[in-house]
Amino acid sequence: MVPIEQKIYARWLDAGTRFGLALLVVGFAVYVFGVLDPHVPREELARLWTLPVDHYVAATGAPTGWDWLRHVGKGDYLNFLGIALFASMTIVCYARIVPTLLVEGDRLQGGLAIAQTLILIAAASGVFF
C-alpha cells in the first residue's frame, strides 16, 4: 500500500536524521565544554546575539556562505556539520527517488522530484545569498 519510492525516501531519511542528530549532540558537547576553541568567544555571545545578523557578521568576521567549512576546526562551526547534514537530507532523498519514479514510468512525479532537487541544490549552493 505504501509506494516503493516513499519507502525508499523514508529509509534514507531515517538513516540521515539519526546520523545528523548524533553529529549535532557530539559537536555541541565539543563546543560547550571547550574541547575546541570557538571562532567567537562564548563570553562575547551575550553582547553579540542582540545584533542584527549583518552587524554580527561585521563585528565578528563570522563566515557566510560555505566559508564555515574553513572554520570547521573551531568549536562553534563544528556544529554546522550536523546542521548542514540535516539541511541536505531532503536533497539526497529526492535525488534518490528520481530513478525509481522514472523506472516506474511516473514521469510527472519524476519531473517534480527533479525540479525540487534543483531548487534545493540552488538554495544550498548559496545562489540566493
Binding site: D14, V53, T64, N79
Partner: protein, 279 residues
C-alpha cells in the same frame, strides 16, 4: 546575566514548548519564534533562523515513520512542497531585507492571525470529496492508507488543487519570512481545502514542512544567522519535551492545553506587535 544561563533557560523553555506543542497538536516552531522573540534578548534574525531549523529537524525526524507507515503521502506533498519551497526562499530573502521593526509588526499580526485561525477553524476526520478536480487527478493525488485506530483501509482523493497551490505558496512565504513551522496552516489547507482525511493531513503536513523549511533554512545558514548556542539546546529541548508530551497525551485535557496555547500566542503576538511599533 552570564552567557551560559541563556542556553539553559532556552533548553527549559523549549522543553516546556515541546510538551505543550504535542498536547495542543501544533508544531514547536510556531511557539518558538513568538515566545523567544518576545521574551529573550536574541535578535529576531537569529530567533527566526533557529525557529526554522527546529521546525525542519523535528519534521525530518518524524517523517520516516510517518512515510513508512503510510500516514503521510509523498505523492500528495511533492507538488505542493515544490511551490512552498520556492516561496519560502522568497519569504526568507524578504524577511532578512526588511527592517526589524517591520518584521516584528508583521510577525505580531501573523501570530494573532494564527491564534484566530486556531480558534475558529474546524476539522473533519474524513471530509467528503465527491469528485476529484482535473489537476489533482492529473497529478494522481489519491491513494489508500491503513488507519490502525479504525482497523481498516481508508481511501482518499482531493479537490480544489489549484486553490491549494495558492494557499501553500502563501504558507511558504510566511514560513520563510518568520521562521515558523507551518503545521497550523498546512493541516487546515490539506484537510478543509483539499478534503484530505485528518490523519493523512497531519502526517503529510510534517513531510511538506521538512521540504519547505529546508529551502528557507539555507538562506539563513548562508547569511550567518545560525547560532549553535541557540539552535542545539532548543532542538534538544523541543525533542525531549515532545517525547514527554506524547506520554502525557493520554492523561491531559486537549481543550485546556489548546486554550493555554491560544492565550500564549495572543500575548506573544501582542508583544511582538508592540515591540515593532516601539511601544
Amino acid at each position: 546575566m552570564e552567557w551560559w544561563l541563556w542556553p539553559i533557560a532556552l533548553f527549559a523553555i523549549t522543553f516546556a514548548m515541546g510538551i505543550v506543542a504535542v498536547l495542543a497538536g501544533v508544531g514547536g516552531g510556531v511557539l518558538f519564534v513568538p515566545i523567544v522573540g518576545a521574551f529573550f534578548p536574541f535578535h529576531l534574525d537569529f530567533v527566526r533562523a533557529t525557529g526554522l531549523l527546529i521546525a525542519m529537524t523535528s519534521a525530518l525526524s518524524a517523517a520516516p515513520s510517518l512515510l513508512g507507515s503510510g500516514l503521510a503521502s509523498l505523492r500528495l506533498a511533492m507538488p505542493l512542497a515544490l511551490v512552498g519551497s520556492v516561496t519560502s526562499i522568497a519569504g526568507a530573502l524578504v524577511g532578512l531585507a526588511l527592517p526589524t521593526g517591520a518584521v516584528q509588526i508583521a510577525l505580531g499580526c501573523t501570530i494573532l492571525g494564527i491564534a484566530a485561525l486556531m480558534w475558529r477553524a474546524g476539522r473533519s476526520a474524513h471530509p467528503e470529496v465527491p469528485r476529484p478536480d482535473a489537476l489533482g487527478a492529473a497529478l494522481r493525488l489519491h491513494g489508500v492508507y491503513h488507519d490502525p485506530a479504525l482497523g481498516r483501509d481508508v481511501s482518499w482523493q482531493v479537490h480544489r488543487t489549484p486553490a491549494a497551490f495558492v494557499a501553500f505558496a502563501g504558507i511558504g512565504v510566511l514560513a520563510g519570512m518568520f521562521g515558523l513551522g507551518a503545521g497550523w496552516a498546512n493541516v487546515p489547507a490539506f484537510n478543509l481545502l483539499m478534503g484530505v482525511p485528518l490523519k493523512l493531513s497531519v502526517g503529510t503536513s510534517g513531510m511538506l514542512l521538512s521540504v519547505v523549511d529546508t529551502s528557507a533554512a539555507w538562506v539563513y545558514i548562508h547569511r550567518g544567522a545560525v547560532f549553535p548556542m541557540l539552535v542545539v539546546p532548543s532542538l534538544i529541548g523541543v525533542t525531549l519535551g515532545a517525547k514527554l508530551g506524547a506520554r502525557l497525551l493520554r492523561v491531559s485535557s486537549a481543550s485546556v492545553v489548546r486554550r493555554i496555547v491560544l492565550a500564549v500566542l495572543v500575548i506573544a503576538g501582542g508583544r511582538a506587535l508592540l515591540k515593532g511599533l516601539g511601544i
